[in-house]
Structures are given as structure tokens and as C-alpha cells.
């Protein structure tokens, strides 16, 4: 999981450290977007380190787009949502409330 939205609040120091470590590859990332070509997660896409990402927005990251369209990266797009509504709870399972 990688925090941040747009260029705000992204863990840029961690990303730069991981980018400099050749043995770290095949990352599976949950993050709202893929950054830009030379900032954010785009820095890792440039090195081909990410094999899968769950994201809501990939608009600006050309390196990510190329990785996706050429089959190097798997992408699960999550729609940008509103407010979630009803939950499955396990708290009451097997009790009178459940029955």
C-alpha cells in the first residue's frame, strides 16, 4: 500500500530508496494513482519494478500506460466512488440477531 493523492503526501523518500535497490522487483502496489513519468510511482515503473497495481487513476503516467498496454503490468482499476452503504457483518453471526 502506498499513500498519497496526486503529488501530495506520496512517500517520495521510500520510493527513491526502493528505486535504488536492484533486488526489489515484482512489486504489487495498492495506490490511488501511478504518479507522473518522473515523480511518484512512475519512478518505479520506469525501472519495471511493478508487476501489478490497484489504482483509480493513471492519467498522467505515460510509463505506467506503456507498461500496462504492453502486458508488463497488471492493472485493477477501482472506480472513484461515493459513499459505501451496506456492510456484511460477522459480529452477530450465529446469534439471535442473525436468525
Amino acid at each position: 500500500m502506498v499513500g498519497g493523492f496526486g503529488f501530495s503526501g506520496i512517500p517520495e523518500n521510500t520510493i527513491e530508496y526502493v528505486r535504488s535497490q536492484p533486488h526489489i522487483t515484482d512489486l504489487k502496489i495498492i495506490s490511488t494513482e501511478a504518479g507522473d513519468d518522473n515523480w511518484g510511482l512512475g519512478r518505479l515503473y520506469e525501472k519495471g519494478k511493478i508487476s501489478k497495481q490497484w489504482a483509480s487513476y493513471i492519467g498522467r503516467a505515460k510509463v505506467m500506460e506503456q507498461a500496462y498496454l504492453s502486458g508488463r503490468t497488471e492493472l485493477e482499476l477501482i472506480p472513484q466512488g461515493t459513499v459505501s452503504c451496506v456492510f456484511f457483518w460477522y459480529l452477530g453471526e450465529g446469534t439471535a440477531a442473525d436468525e
Binding site: M1, V2, G3, G4, F5, S8, G9, I10, P11, E12, T14, I15, I30, S31, T32, W54, A55, S56, Y68, L69, S70, G71, E74, L75, E76, L77, I78, P79, Q80, G81, T82, V83, S84, C85, V86, F87, F88, W89, Y90
Partner: protein, 101 residues
């Protein structure tokens, strides 16, 4: 943003799935969104089709939470070795919920 944030939050608190209207009546809900391409440009895999259910006459999609991640990369203004974090301004966004995973 709520959809992705909710998938993260539910993973943290042990809720495996939740209902949402986001993505209803789209290719996303029908499982027709390309998830992976082949090097030649053809589609290798599509996303998973979502289950639907009605509540109060409205249709909702069943959205599964994320699996627990190995690491959360967080940006914080201050942090200690116990993992307590202080966020500042807009960097509060996804960092707070991802830190609580």
C-alpha cells in the same frame, strides 16, 4: 476516492466485502474491463464480474476488500519507532488509513 479508501479500511478492520453503487451499469461491474494485455496488444485477462444485490429497491455491487498488504509506505511529518505518525495538511489523505492497516 471512497471506493478505494473503503477497500483499504475494510481490510484493516476485518470486513471482507461491502456493498456500493459505484461502478454499477458499467464495464467494470460486468467484468469487461481489461486487467492485463498480451505483448501483442490483445487482452489477456478481464476484471472480475461483481455480484449484485437489491436493498430497498436499489441495486448495489458487492465489492471485496483488499488482502492485507505486507507493507504500507507512508508519508508523515513525524513518526516514532512504535509506528505512531503525525500527518500534516493534505498528506493526511490515504496515509492515515493505510497506516492503520
Amino acid at each position: 476516492m471512497k471506493q478505494l479508501a473503503e477497500k483499504v479500511r475494510c481490510c484493516a478492520v476485518g470486513i471482507p466485502a461491502f456493498y456500493s453503487v459505484t461502478g454499477l451499469h458499467t464495464l467494470y461491474a460486468e467484468g469487461k474491463l481489461p486487467r492485463k494485455y498480451n505483448p501483442d496488444g490483445s487482452v489477456a485477462a478481464y476484471n472480475k464480474k461483481r455480484e449484485t444485490r437489491e436493498f430497498g429497491g436499489k441495486t448495489y455491487l458487492l465489492e471485496e476488500s483488499f488482502e492485507m498488504a505486507d507493507f504500507a509506505w507512508i508519508k508523515a511529518t513525524k513518526a516514532d519507532k512504535m509506528g505512531n505518525c503525525v500527518f500534516k495538511g493534505t498528506s493526511y489523505n490515504f496515509n492515515a488509513i493505510m497506516a492503520s492497516k
